[in-house]
Amino acid sequence: MSSAAIVLLKDVHKTYKYGKSYVRALRGVSLEVSRGSTVCIVGPSGSGKTTLLNIIGGIDLPDSGIVVVDGVEVGKLRGRDLAQYRLRKVGYVFQFYNLIPTLTVWENVELPLSLAGVDRRAREERVRELMDAVGISHLANRTPDTLSGGEQQRVAIARALANGPAVVLMDEPSANIDVDNTLKIMELVERLNKDMKQTFIIATHDPLVARYCATIYKIRDGYIISRYEGRDAVSKALMGEL
């Protein structure tokens, strides 16, 4: 692992059992993500993108291999330690935003801070700062069901950033929003990456999203089949195959 790498995966395997059959979601995946970079995991549906994000996010555990995020070996964590890892080391933006429907926008953003035991004043300050950063201050008292897809996506990003995670994971950010909103969201991601030096790992099959990434890992049938580093390589890859 290079000194700048914030995420390192080495020979990670994951197999799911569905009834009597087994699905090998990841087959010896290895990758490295530098601190402050935006990395895309690109591949078709069922290629293992979400599983990969879930394993980096501590939502799922690998069967074998090593996963190190910000110096923490995720595969060894259990119970409360794993919950603390999910709370403090990663921020997760789900495909369907996954906001808590009974909470307001403000409360959704505040939730990870409450779970982390941040005191009220600091919480308020942080929530305000995040909502300003993603441009949702005017939605504070609204509930998720009254928001558009783009707005929900912004709330989910603000929530993911709440505890200043080492890495933000985004699963198919363009899946449920139109092109206009996709561009706005990705511009926001780009800005946050630039201003806050926030590391993003984005799973997508959308070239519109992938072109915002400095590094692309292509995944298929649980294998990383190629890696493109730098804007030029990414552009070429996008024009050629995606």
Binding site: I59, T102, D119
Partner: protein, 425 residues
């Protein structure tokens, strides 16, 4: 410094709990009908428990009051065995409604008076008789000493008799109403084969109808009328110190081993034991109802967990611990229990206090029995006591049942795997 840190920690815990309650409340009211129906199960159980406990608590309170009011003495002595030579004829005792074993000679009174710790002794001869055709219990007493000792005869009209063998009586208010008699009225008192005319000198009231169907007459007069001169059925003993009642009882037993000596503390204990059994019985009935409500809560919570699987997955994915999820769902169960218990309490109060009052205000209990106005004895409504213990017990049981019912669903929620839960649609 330590105190300050502790205070901050307590504040943080309180704040977290307020947050949990808020989330629990919002989740519950999202499905109002289901929430209301689940709460209704607890309401019924708690209302039942509250009503039954209140009634038994009131019964205990009333029994204690009546016992204290009735029993001014510490020891009652009766004859529990047949003792040859102390009786007159079997025929006489049968006629006046006494078993042969009921009588004892009057000389025991003097012997008991000689026990140093004894403060006062009152002999009583109780026989069955009729007053102007109405069956009654006649108690031959020395009125002044008897009332001093027993202290429960509240003469509301006229006064007691002061003679030992005159033909004067004090009758209960219930009997007076039945006979339409008052002070100065002349009545025919029949004991066995003897009928004599007596004059009413006083009317007493106890508030309890069956007690007011009694006639008090001078001891000598009752003994003569019943042909039981020199005999009594009971001796009431008051001790100088109630704590010495057992010692006095032991002394009486050693003097008269054939007599049965009953201390009132033991009697009260037996009454309380009986009421306790009744309380347990009623409580078990209430608990059965509440258990049904508990299953309702369990069902609702299982449904809530199933419906919110995805939400549980999200919470865990963003860092919520198993214990947080467990607490979140348990708080919902507890909230159902609390709302149900408090509502059940009000329903219980309504049925134990408001309904009887409303019925009495309408002038009677025609749905359940004779109208009050047609019941000259006065059907007295005993106001059901609402004690803090009963309120606390009812609420605690209601919340506890809901919490216990919520344990399994909450555990299931807490054990969910985030990766699977978050995929749930």
């Amino acid at each position: 410094m330590f105190l300050l840190e502790f205070f901050v920690l307590v504040l943080a815990v309180c704040e977290a709990m307020v947050g949990l309650v808020r989330v629990a409340y919002r989740n519950l009211i999202k499905r109002k009908l289901r929430f209301a129906l689940t709460v209704a199960g607890i309401v019924v159980g708690v209302a039942l428990i509250f009503s039954l406990l209140s009634i038994t608590a009131t019964a205990e309170q009333v029994a204690r009051q009546q016992f204290t009011r009735l029993i001014g003495y510490d020891i009652a002595v009766i004859n529990g065995t047949l003792r040859q030579g102390r009786l007159q004829t079997q025929r006489q005792t049968t006629l006046i409604g006494l078993g042969a074993q009921s009588l004892m000679t009057e000389d025991v009174v003097g012997a008991m008076s000689s026990i140093p710790e004894v403060y006062a002794v009152a002999p009583v001869l109780t026989v069955r008789g009729t007053v102007s055709g109405i069956a009654t219990t006649v108690q031959g007493v020395v009125f002044q000493s008897y009332t001093d000792l027993v202290g429960n005869i509240n003469v509301v009209e006229g006064e007691g008799f002061s003679c030992y063998d005159c033909r004067e009586v004090v009758i209960g208010k219930g009997l007076a109403l039945e006979l339409n008699a008052s002070v100065g009225s002349k009545l025919t008192l029949s004991i066995g084969n003897t009928s004599v005319e007596v004059v009413v000198t006083g009317v007493f009231e106890t508030g309890i109808r069956f007690q007011e169907m009694v006639v008090y007459a001078p001891l000598r007069f009752v003994q003569e009328a019943s042909g039981l001169e020199g005999y009594i059925t009971q001796v009431l003993v008051k001790c100088q110190d109630p704590k010495s009642a057992q010692a006095v009882a032991n002394a009486i037993t050693s003097m008269f081993p054939e007599l049965t000596v009953v201390t009132m503390a033991a009697s009260l204990q037996r009454v309380e034991e009986a009421i306790n059994i009744m309380t347990m019985f009623f409580l078990s009935i209430g608990l059965v109802a509440l258990t049904a409500g508990g299953f309702g809560v369990m069902n609702t919570m299982f449904m809530a967990v199933a419906e919110r699987t995805r939400e549980i997955g999200i919470l865990k994915s963003i860092g919520a611990t198993d214990s947080y999820i467990f607490a979140l769902f348990l708080f919902e169960s507890a909230l159902i229990g609390l709302v149900g218990s408090v509502t059940g309490l009000f329903v219980g109060v309504f049925f134990t206090r408001v309904v009887p009052t409303l019925i009495s205000l309408t002038g009677g209990v025609s749905a359940f029995g004779p109208r009050l106005t047609q019941n000259p004895g006065g059907l007295r409504l005993v106001e059901v006591a609402i004690t803090p213990e009963v309120v606390l017990t009812s609420i605690t049981i209601g919340v506890l049942v809901a919490v216990v019912a919520g344990l399994l669903p909450s555990y299931r929620a807490a054990r969910m795997k985030p990766a699977e839960a978050v995929r749930y649609v």
